[in-house]
Symmetry: none
């Protein structure tokens, strides 16, 4: 947000900025970092090759800016879900979060795609840090839900919090992956599932969790 983007870019008309971010997002989501080509980005956003370097310091500058942009979008969503489910019980909030996540990756597939890329592309600049930021954020979110659930007596008091958060994070993350990467969807068949069937899958999972975490 600081040394990667140049003032020049921020002075651009908003629609031009949007076109460039969109093009970069698409390319990085598609190819990952190293394999993404600046040629493709400039072609798609209709600007000259040199202009990109008036806007950003270098390739990694573009990437990091786009990443920050994407993170901001996700954050807004999660804050909103959390706030709007204040009154619900723990498992309902979990379910709502999961469904919100599903909506999100359908609405912003490229943002989710860029996250998937960062996951395992060792060449991504500052990858470990970016990745940790994302996972930490998710863990904190779940932790916060968990604490409130415990306080309200919706979960058994002897629940080991760290392990529970780990399990929840693993499950939710994989669920979203399965919904967007067919190869991960070898069990639940989410792709084909109608909303009804999907809702039932979610219920089954919530039921297992309820037994495991609440004790009833």
């Amino acid at each position: 947000m600081n040394e990667t983007v140049r003032p020049t870019f921020l002075n651009l008309p908003e629609d031009k900025q949007a076109r460039i971010i969109e093009a970069a997002l698409t390319e990085f989501a598609d190819k990952g970092y190293q394999q993404a080509s600046l040629n493709t980005i400039v072609a798609a956003s209709g600007i000259a090759k040199g202009s990109l370097y008036q806007y950003f310091t270098d390739k990694s500058g573009i990437f990091l800016y786009v990443f920050d942009f994407a993170i901001a979008v996700v954050r807004r969503l999660l804050v909103q879900v959390k706030d709007s489910t204040q009154e619900e019980d723990f498992f309902t909030r979990l379910e709502r979060s999961l469904l919100a996540g599903l909506d999100f990756i359908r609405q912003y597939p490229k943002i989710y795609g860029i996250y998937l890329k960062i996951l395992f592309d060792q060449q991504v600049p500052q990858r470990q840090e970016l990745l940790q930021r994302v996972r930490q954020y998710a863990a904190n979110y779940l932790h916060s839900l968990l604490r409130q659930g415990l306080a309200r007596g919706e979960l058994r008091p002897d629940l080991p919090a760290a392990s529970a958060v780990f399990l929840l994070d693993a499950l939710l993350d994989r669920f979203l992956q399965a919904a967007s990467v067919p190869a991960f969807d070898v069990v639940l068949d989410l792709e084909q599932a109608n909303p009804e069937a999907l809702r039932q899958r979610v219920q089954e999972l919530m039921d297992i969790l309820r037994r495991g975490l609440a004790g009833n």
Copy 2:
């Protein structure tokens, strides 16, 4: 297995084959598919550039051959774990499988590395298929364990099998990732954990699962 590798390669002395596979494995595990350089592979295995094309059709041919090789190693391991735990109860078998996985990625980090690469590198040839093969295999393995557990009454009879397998697969996969990718280890701190602490984490997770899946 057929059009990617040439008979020339299979006629090579075994140690030469091994050197080449080792070099390719290292490079692909390190860089992923597109980013891997054939130059590095020929340099590391001490053969001529042109020879590679006597042995394999092209870059993707080498990759697919190496992948098959890696899969075979994994398969042997899982078969062995399954057989040697025939007599144990479901949750013990699960635990043993997890610990065997941990051992494996410590012993063969490159093979696990190549799996991580395939996970999200869209450029990998036939990626969807390779990935599906891996996940399907894991799902089948868990399903088989589950069926035996049900038959022995170690799990509650009304357990929705698909959802349970999905949960188990997600948990185990993520646990191994956390053990080898620091950025995934934001909750359990496996890196720092001594064997005792690690064992306790595993117990906690198994306990949650037991409640969720067995009903007691």
Copy 3:
């Protein structure tokens, strides 16, 4: 002096002019002509990219203006040395000139640096002419000293003037180079020399010259 700089520049407040000249001098002294970047110059002088083209015709225009500026500084110095040593004998004047040169390159390293750049950078615009101007000026200066020395009988009458001037010019020029380019200082070790040792070196050289040129 006429087609390279625009009136716009000369109308600028003096301190702004100075800032720009300083920035350009620094960059050209540092990088030579072709390698110098206008970006660096505008950044250092805090003006807009486009403004540079309001002030000068193009890159070479800036360079030539800065060169003229530098020459004027040198000229002022030599005139002053010459005038202030009117009464001294030839070899004393020579020595004083050399020491003044040493002082100069320590005080204005950038001006000397720009001269060194011009020396052998074929890309410098009008290089031959600029270089010739400098060397011609130095030769004239030495010639003038020589004539006065001859007139006063401080030098042998049969001395071939051109060859003598050539020798003196070569010696003085190289001495200054040795004092500022370590690689040229393989013999006298001027870098390490204390003022006393340096003075002795100068005396030794003057002594050789005296024998060679005066005949006693």
Copy 4:
């Protein structure tokens, strides 16, 4: 000579090697290091762009190889002059060395050109070291001549050797420069001089030196 050039290059047919060295020498002599374009070199030597990187590690690899090549040529010349003038007296040897130098830069103007480039192009890789190597070599050569001259009583015994070598080096170096860079030739007019006039110039300089260094 070691990590800059690849075996591939040395395996090339000699005429191809020669073509490439010639092209590189020409380009570097013309433009200096940074400003030299590999495009020009490959075009002039009729090879593909990628081939250059089969032969050398990178741009600086090419440059350093060409420099080593040039140095070897110079060395051969100086050794030969020194050996073939074993019997002559000091000033004759000096004169012969100077004339041999003149011949050399006429026969190999590009090699001399590359030396001139290194002189002041700050971007040249390992410039200080290369430059020092050249100047040190010249200084050693002159020192050796001087010692022999002293031993034979051809020079005055109280001559300060370092200063004398410095003077000789400065004079010879500048003489060669004047002969090849018109801008340095403001005094002696070597360009226009017929062999006779040139020889006379040399005599005049030698005469001054004789008085300065021998004392008679």
